[in-house]
Structure formats: C-alpha cells, structure tokens
C-alpha cells in the first residue's frame, strides 16, 4: 500500500433535514429499523476516511440559521448547519468574533465543529470547542430531543450534556443547535513571525524562552518551512507565528518582550486564514500531543512527514503538533510512528480509507461503550466513525 486510493463518496440516499423535528423523525425511523445513518453538515469531513457504515446520509446543511443573537450578552445560538463564516459575518458587525478557528474551510458548520471538537490556533487560549459551547441541543439515537447547558455564560445545572456531546462525533446524539460564547474584538490584533532554529536542542530552548516571556499570546503556532511560502514567509526556515491581542500599549509591551534577543517581524493578520486554508483535502493528517514542554521533540519527529512531501504546524501552549502527507507511504508512516514514545498521544484526523482498520483508535473502554449504548442503543449514529471497536455497541 504505497499510494492512497481515490476517495469517492458512496452514492447513498440523502435525507435533508430543515427542522429539528426532521432529525428526530429520521432517527426514530432509523432506530426502529436498526438502519444506521451517516450524519453530514457541510460535508467537508466526509473525506476524513472514517468508514461510517451507513446506507443513508442525514444532511444537516439546511438545518441552518441564527436563532438568537444578543450582542450585549456576547452569546449566540444557531442551528447546527450554520457555517462558521455566516456566524463570523453576523457578529463582526458588532465588533465581536467567534474564536473557533479549526483548520480547513470556514464553510464548515457549527454543529460539525463541535461534534468533532475541531480546534485551531486559538484553542490554546480561548477557542477550545468544549469551552466555547455554552448550550447544546441534540437528538439521541432513539430520537429524543435533549438540551444541556443554556444561554448563559456560567451554568452548572444538572449533569454536563454539553461536554458529553462535544467531541463525540455524533455518536451520542446529533447536535441540532448550539449556543456559543463570543468575544469582543480586541483593540489591537497583531501577529509577529520569528524564524526557528532547526536544531532540536536550540529549538527546545527557544520555545521555552518564548513560553516564559512576559507575553500572553492568544495564539502561538509553529509552521514548518514547507508551508512558509503559502504564508508569505521565507521557506528557508520553520517559523513561529505569535498573535497578540488587547490594548495597544499592552500588545506593544509584549512585542518588546518577545523581540528581546530575537529578530521578529510583523506579518499581515490574514496569515491565520491562509494557514487554515492550507489544510489538505485528502491523504493522512495526524495530530500528536504531549505536555507543552515536549513540543520540540514531537515537532522534530513530524519532520519526517514534512520531508515526504507533507507539512507540519504546532500549537505551542497546547502541546499539539499537526502534520500531514497528501500521498502517504507506508514505510515513512511506520518509521514516523516508531520514533514516538508510547505515552505520546496520536489522533489520525484523516486517513486513506484502507488504512483505517490498522490505525483506528484503540478499542473503546467499557465506560465509553456503556455511554454509546445508553445514548444510541441501536448504534445508528455514525456507526464505525470512532473505530472498529465501537461496532460492539450494536
């Protein structure tokens, strides 16, 4: 297996939901017939290579629209199929933003972003989906509409159904609506770039100094040399992009602290959109993570994928390296995995379908299996998306 297979979407019947009740009807029917459903938002993740075993697709892209937006509360409620771009356009007019900046296209939907817990550079400070979601409505695998959380920014009423649904890939319920916390746009929002040393020891020292500097970046992302030209940076080096936001004096002081003893230069703020847009549509995408202090080691390990025609970037304070190869080679991947420590976390976000059985996540623990049974007794929701192990749920 040295080349990825062409990915073609299975031609399956589509049910298009325009109301929450449509989702309930579809799921009740699927539950009664024991016939699994594939859940789709904008469809940007359908190529992720996760082999959902379903003959029918439930399309939520038209279950969209903003339900409630009170700018003074800095909260917004939208249906699951609403695109992140639409939310951003709406709140921008009031000087606000939604800090969900997952890699890939902004055509992605709110529901899918939360369901997959997809996070971007802002996740290290303000944009982890589990922290941004305040309330959620979802339809369980037996067709019941359930609401957790609410529309207020602080809430501990009852067991936490919000955290349950975020990151569950739709397997505990189909998210139909969510309330998210917005931020006011900062007065000043600047991004600096600094070239990183290639040597691992030097890189370790450099990253430690950046983390210890008197600065609190809203994002600090390493980008590999292969991405640099697409971001308007010199491809002779790996780079660290540091985004500083806040009042202009405070941003200036942080900039000075970061520039002490290093060469930094400012880059245009659209570098972040450009970085998001570099995400590949196919191939293999892997996310490695460890304590932030281990980042230089993971970064170096991922170099092997960059050298094989791929790319890498990393979120500093989160300790996450994300790397991809459009045309993965089995030997390269094997050598790359062999270099990692047993305790290093790895998540394959995207795989050529044929690779999935071998690299799928470890079998789910009994607690996770019991959760699946409790919320989707017939395993009709995205069956198979969490790996072969959860087939037992059915």
């Amino acid at each position: 297996m040295t080349t990825p297979e062409a990915v073609t979407l299975p031609e399956v019947p589509r049910l298009v939901a325009t109301r929450g009740a449509d989702v309930q009807d579809a799921v009740r029917d699927a539950h009664a017939r024991r016939e699994p459903l594939r859940i789709a938002g904008a469809g940007t993740w359908l190529h992720a290579g996760r082999p959902v075993a379903a003959d029918t697709t439930l399309d939520l892209s038209r279950l969209s629209g903003i339900v409630e937006y009170v700018p003074g509360d800095l909260t917004l409620t939208a249906r699951a199929g609403t695109s992140l771009a639409e939310i951003d356009d709406t709140v921008r007019a009031n000087g606000q933003w939604l800090p969900l900046d997952a890699f890939g296209t902004t055509a992605g939907t709110l529901g899918a972003t939360l369901a997959t817990a997809s996070a971007g550079p802002l996740a290290a400070s303000i944009g982890l989906p589990r922290d941004v979601a305040l309330g959620i409505a979802f339809v369980t695998g037996d067709g019941r509409l359930v609401r957790g959380g609410g529309r207020v920014v602080k809430n501990v009423a009852g067991f936490d159904l919000v955290r349950l649904a975020v990151g569950a890939w739709g397997t505990l319920g189909i998210i139909v609506e969510a309330t998210v916390r917005l931020r006011a746009r900062p007065e000043t929002d600047r991004t600096l770039a600094m070239a990183l040393p290639a040597d691992r020891t030097a890189l370790t020292t450099c990253l430690r100094r950046v983390r210890e500097a008197e600065a609190a970046p809203v994002a600090a992302e390493l980008v590999g040399a292969s991405l640099a030209p697409r971001l308007g940076l010199d491809e002779g080096a790996d780079w660290l992009l540091v985004r500083l936001a806040g009042n202009s004096e405070a941003v200036g002081a942080q900039e000075e602290a970061l520039a002490r003893g290093r060469h930094v230069h400012e880059v245009a703020p659209d570098v972040w959109q450009r970085l998001r847009a570099t995400d590949p549509a196919e191939g293999l995408v892997v996310r490695l993570s460890q304590r932030p202090g281990e980042l230089a080691r993971l970064w170096t390990a991922a170099q092997r994928l960059e050298a094989a025609g791929g790319a890498r970037h990393a979120t500093l304070e989160r300790g996450v390296v994300r790397a991809w190869v459009p045309m993965p080679d089995e030997d390269v991947i094997a050598a790359f995995l062999a270099e990692l420590g047993a305790a290093d976390a790895r998540i394959f976000e995207r795989l050529p379908p044929a690779w999935w059985p071998r690299l799928a996540p470890a079998p789910a623990d009994p607690l996770a299996r019991a959760l699946r049974r409790a919320f989707d007794p017939a395993a009709v929701l995205n069956r198979g998306i969490l790996g072969a192990s959860e087939e037992q749920a059915g």
Binding site: V152, R163, L164
Partner: protein, 478 residues
Amino acid sequence: MGDRMRSSLGRQLAAICGPRHVLERPAELLVYTADGLPGYRKRPSLAVFPGTRDETVAVIRHLAREGVPFVPRGAGTGLSGGALADDVVLLGLHRMRRVLAIDVENRMAVVEPGVVNASLSRAAAPFGLHYAPDPSSQAACTIGGNVAENAGGPHCLKYGVTLNHVLAVTAALPDGEVITLGSAEGEREGYDLAGVFVGSEGCFGVALDVTVRLTRNPQAVRTMLADFTSLDAAARTVSAIVALGIVPAALEMMDTGTIRAVEASIFAAGYPIDAAAVLLIELDGFRVGLDRDVERVAALCRAGGARTLRVASDETERARLWQGRKKAFGAMGRISSHLVVQDAVVPRTRLPEILAEVGRIAQAHGVHVCNVFHAGDGNLHPNIAYDGTDADERARVFAAMREIMRACVAAGGSVTGEHGIGLDKLEYMSLVFSDDSLDAMCRLRDVFDPERRANPGKVVPTRSCREWAGTPAARGAG
C-alpha cells in the same frame, strides 16, 4: 440500615482506616449534618475518613460489596446541600491533602482531592503561578469538592471555571474500579469523560487525584470600588462594561443590604453605607496599558452615575476591599440564624430588569433580600437572612425564592451558576429541562453508577429517571 448492621460496617471500615477515622455516635456526627447552606439537616449513618488513596479505594470497594450508598464530602462548604448524607455513609476526603506534584514548566499540578483551594495557590506561588478558580470559601474548600461542583468564583469571569482548569482526574467509580479520565499528557480521542465528571456533584465517583492547570500571576492588578445611588444604575454599568470588550478579572456587585451587613461586621471593608450598590472591579494583566483600561472602565462607571470611584492604592487596601466581598455571607450570619442563598444566572443584558424584579418579589412577600454576586457573569446570589424557627417567615422566604428562580428562568437563565443542584435546587430542574433531558442525565449517571449509590437523591429528581426498554444500563453488560 439497622443499628446492628451499621456497627458491623463501622468495624469493617475501621479495619481499613483505623478506628479514629470512623465516626458513628450521633454526637460525633453532628458536625456532618449540614454543609455551608443552613436550613437542611441530614444525619449520616456513619462517617469514614480514609487517609490515603489505597484506603479510599478499599472503602469504596467495601461499600460496593455491601451495596451501601455513600456521599463524598470535601470541606462541607457547599451551598446546595450536596454533601449531606441522609442515613447513608459519609465519605470524607479532607485527609487526602497532599500536593503530589507541581510541574512548573508545563504549568500544572497534581493534587489529592482534600487539598484546600487556597493552599494550592500558596504552593504554586514561589513559581509565579496560581490556581485560578477562587470560590469565596477558598480558604477552606477542597479541590475535590471544587471538581464535584464545577466551582466558580469572582475571577472566573476572566479565567474560567473549574472545568476549564482540569486536565485529568483519576477517579474511583462507585463500584471501586479506578480509571483515568482526560489526559495531562496530550489529547486523547474519545468522549470528554473528564469534562463530564467535573460538576457531577459526587454522583459519578470519587476523585483520587486531579491534574489541574496553573495560571501565571498577572504582572499588575488594579482593584476599584465604584458606588452608586441606585441599583439599576450599577446594573446598567455592568452591562456597559461587559459590552466594552475589556474582560475584567472580576466584576462583583453588592447592594445596600449587603454593604451594611459587611460594614457592621468584623469584615468591614470601608464600603460607603449610604450607597444603593457598589461595584468591585478588578483588572489585571500587563503593567503597561493597564491604567488606560482602568480609566476606560472608570469613565463608564462615571457615565453610569457612579458617585465615587476609589482605586486601591496598595495591596492592603486591595485585600480589605476583597475581604468584604469574600466574607459577605459570613457577615450575614450576624443578622439572623438562617440564610438562604440562590445562585441563578441570567443573560447579562437582563441584569437591570431582573434586579428590579427581585426587589418587587421581596417586597410582595415581606422579606429582605440582599444581593452580592458575580455581576460580570450574570450570576446572581440573592440571599435572605431569616429566623428558621419562625414558620411563617420561613414560608414567605421560600415562596419569594421560588418566585425569584422562576423570574430568572423566564429571563433565559439557569438555576445555578456555580453552587450546584444538590438537594436545594432539585425542585427547579424541571423548570429548565424537559423530561427527555432529565432522562438523558439519568442515563449518563447510570453509566457511571448503575446502582445509583453515589450521592443518592441529588441533582436529578428521581422521578425523572425512568427506565428505558431494551437497554442494558450497567457498564460491562453485553
């Protein structure tokens, strides 16, 4: 549970923890019949206090074998009756109070559940770090209890609640199985079980150790007090500050009743006693630029009708301003023997109208409400001091509280922002959640505790937990 069986259980638990650490006599149990919220009294059948992780697991396994329900308890400072054991075993965890590790480079700490909140920040202080969630009871409350309640505190406005600071939990499930939820070493695929465990109010198991995030101390802090001649003007100023985009580290409000109680107590902070309301506002961050943010907030306060503005000139004055706020509930103790505190949350733009509504409700019922709360989060703490021996007054107080809760829910709010449901707010759950949502919470609980032995009768009204056909609820089945 009969007396003969109880003493036999007591003997068995004493064999695990030592006889000094098992209490059975009613007089010894008296102190465990209440938590931080007066008004409820429940006596445990016995209380056991394991001193180590192994002892804790052994106790839980023994209780599982015997099929005995239990209630985990930290320092008992909770404000929802959540740590009360009604004729079941009380499992006190305050002896497990070691800070196991502080990882300075990665800004995290591993602690046992009985570590006191403020002592973790003290342990981290030499490294320029602190643990951000700061409930007002932080001098006494434990991290285990904070995790169970998803505790908040004034500084959660900027830094987030307990959930946002917990990376991983090693927990003993009610059946005695020890599992790790979440991960401190990278991000794992799968359900967010740590996120679900935080705030589960002791119903999902017992934390044996907790890995938390530590936060860097800010370079500079500015604390100011603004006083207003009307509650409404203060509330409108809060909304204006929130909308401004500067996120204060804390934004607290106290009304005239609270101010007078505080100023008459040993916690007197120098609040103006003729004010209708004061805002205690703290900004923190980088030294450079902070004073401009302070000036922008001050300008909003002045525009909103603030009579005077006082910025603490030194750490002593700052500590004094905060002491009045953090000890406000204690100060109420001087007024009457009993105190009922609510914890509703409303969207922040609704604060002015809801405060007016609370005032109307109090007047209609002839009770005196004091407000002291996390205004920046919209998290109200209306509280009423009353004489619990006066049945008529007690009835009026509770009728007023119910009406206040209904008004907050009608404004799009929640019935608890940080204190938890416990026993006290069970009756309000169906105001906020449908039967199907409550049922989903029961399903979730049953995954962790199919026998419903951990903190029985709390959080979700029992009648909501209907059975659903054809689903094996027990873990490991199938």
